[in-house]
Symmetry: D2
């Protein structure tokens, strides 16, 4: 049952769609227990027929009981490689991360969800774990063309800003550093979006959208200028998708710089 | 294997997520073969342990080879009840329906997809098949409050208009009648959306949005006034969901009139 | 802006897809902050043009900071009706609920996610809040027909058990009571599923599946017998969907008893 | 409005989620009009602020009226590059493709859906369009470990086989060639799945599953041996995901050979 003669080493074998609780230290004092969806894999040597699927669950569910303080998953990868006796291990986990957003005029604060995905791998040849993150952040844009040609108004819409980035020094990526990155990215859009807006806030947001008209192309370029300055990011892919209010389809743009395909999320 | 002693008749037993081609006669001359997703069920008497799952596939795949000219599925229900020897049968099928949309100024025409779902059932006690439809139609709205309080501009967004309606005389519901209903519903929004818009069209659409500001509540009420006049609709549930451009969540409203729960989609 | 002359009272107006943190007291002593997706609505009188959308976010985000000890949302509904000055309010929230599952032989414990949705509403006419829950629980079944006709083996697959139930005395529905209900429902399937299974556990599970062959119809009926005995449930709709391993479509059955359509999830 | 000074050329700007009808010549003589979901993009030079989004819709909706006889989209790419005046264009379209499946014993034929996605791009530097396809094909597997350790039975489940492949000579990829590829890939699983199975077919399928036990690792390796022999494929990524009947999560494996990241779907 355990030997294989086909001579084909496999790059990834593992589990997917495994939902487990994850303890994270948020920006406040409360410990958060968020449901995370895991994918995990190991390489399989040509002469072995199968991996030990149950060990993934053992390692990952034990890991979820420790407290996550930053985006460094090196220890988990070492544990996976040891338990699964393989040359390479990779994990990917997805969860909702909450940031506090202050309404622009009333200053009332409310929590807003950002989709976060972390991918990491390490191998015998290169035991330094490589980390990348994927963020999906809602914002809004207002169309410069529509504004220019129309007597009044301009179409605007919710956009999703999606960043895939290779991280340097994952242990330095605390959640507060992550929150600061999210805020810098949001500022590339025509306007940020907020869970809670009083009337005075809604006036402010509407007028900021209007005075800050941007194509998806503009958002990409302004974000690129910001992302190039991030010290702990070495290569990224940035995408903007706008849920056009005048169409049933979306406008979309993407730009990559030094982004390694292996990291792709 | 076939008898059951638990004394519990089951209301619905069948298949779901079955994708089969469906031949429909569109508004043009070309015969369309669209992929339809089917759910189908029959009632099961208390003394029978199980139904014949394979007969659903037999009946539905044969049915897909005939040409659908209207929304009447009475014959299919009779066939299901005969083949499955049951007192009640119900089907639900979902597919993309294309309508032609003319851009408002340039008059260039392009096809636009509308999500269509049809539910129908009949029984021994009432062999007249009951039909209902569910439509999801994209459109747009512009917020009256944002317009009123802001010096310039107003937030606007894509909205989804969702109609569930009990149909009278399903055989009279041709696809051209359906297309006319879709157009009347769209007119309740601030503006229709279009696949193709030239610059002159975009100016028109932006200005119409702005001059025709509507809350989701307004869209519901204007649609209700229209739907009450539909002769071949006897009860409906109408819902509007707006992908707010200033929030990451949606605004939403719903109104039902004489809508039978059994029809609920 | 605030008056309406169309004479149409609206049944539901509100927000949807609002993701907020929720503090819950789990089966252990740990306080969990889980992400919940909210829908909330209020009725709108005919003479009012619109509701106050921002107040929903205000009430719900404040509510998420208090600690949820059971499934009773009466206080939240009172607060919504007071703040929104309406005759009826309804909320629906969805989140992942983790239960601990012990592997059947090795007794190793690991957390398993169950999808949980709670709906509640109250009104001026009937200020007692009505609560219902929706649960989606994974399990497995093995086909009795396939077993009977085949020389060896039998097809089996993951199934999803879905319960919608009207609750009595929501304050008595602690999370430990919920966990007990989930376990009783799981026992209707051919076998429970587990995140972690050692070799000895996998042997047990395989053999239990095989000796406990059940159609989706059987699972429904066995669950119905159990659900009729639940003291704090007054009406339910139970559905089973099997991801057939021999087809690309699913087998499916549904049964309702005294389930009020208004509760429908 | 049209000049840009930020000095950043963009790799992809365009539309996404555009649903349009597509005329295809199926394996029979019938011309099918199927709904396709399009993504299309062009590169944008550093000095241009934005692309012409409406031209995508113009080109794609016109293209959908011509008849697709094979997987070659070179002409469409030339037309996009000409109309959008760009150095590089890329398209991706997804639709359901039906193949006819004969039940293994009764020989009854019924249509089965396969998810198909085609990606193609061309540029000034290399005007030969590069094509790749992505296929998702349902099948089943039976676990060799579960079979070996259990006195009776073995867990089995639906699996999804996913192929991403770089194509040579896209014009030679007729739909009948595609159908033949799909059938060869399916044979790597423990057993094919079928829409319609009579009792005699179900016995055959159950017994074939049982006698042909395969891990996801085995399916990958058997598929790799087959894929290496395909003359018109030059590099591929093959993935198998099994909806484990004993877990709520999936088992999964992936293997790539000479697969260019740029093609990645």
């Amino acid at each position: 049952l355990s030997h294989d003669l086909r001579g084909i080493p496999l790059q990834e074998v593992g589990v997917r769609g495994l939902e487990l609780p994850l303890l994270i230290q948020g920006s406040g004092a409360v410990l958060r227990e968020v449901p995370a969806i895991w994918q995990a894999s190991v390489s399989l040597a040509a002469e072995l027929r199968g991996t030990h699927m149950s060990r993934f669950v053992e390692v990952l569910s034990k890991y979820g009981r420790s407290e996550l303080r930053n985006l460094d998953f090196s220890d988990l990868l070492i544990e996976l490689r040891r338990k699964l006796q393989c040359s390479r291990a990779e994990i990917r986990l997805s969860f909702s991360h909450f940031i506090e957003k202050q309404a622009p005029v009333s200053r009332v604060s409310s929590p807003a969800a950002v989709k976060l995905q972390i991918t990491a791998f390490s191998s015998e040849e290169d035991s330094d774990a490589k980390h990348s993150l994927f963020l999906e952040i809602p914002a809004s844009n207002l169309c410069p063309c529509s504004k220019a040609i129309s007597d009044q108004g301009a179409h605007n819409q919710r956009v999703y800003l999606r960043l895939s980035a290779n991280l340097l020094d994952a242990a330095s990526w605390s959640f507060s550093r992550l929150d600061a990155l999210i805020e810098r990215i949001e500022e590339s859009a025509s306007c940020r979006v907020f869970p809670f807006l009083k009337r005075s806030d809604e006036k402010f947001v509407t007028e900021q959208q209007f005075s800050n008209a941007k194509f998806v192309e503009d958002i990409i370029r302004d974000a690129v200028l910001r992302l190039r300055k991030e010290e702990l990011i070495c290569g990224f892919c940035f995408e903007v998708e706008a849920l056009e209010s005048i169409h049933a389809h979306n406008a979309w743009a993407r730009h990559s710089e030094d982004f390694e395909p292996g990291f792709r999320t």
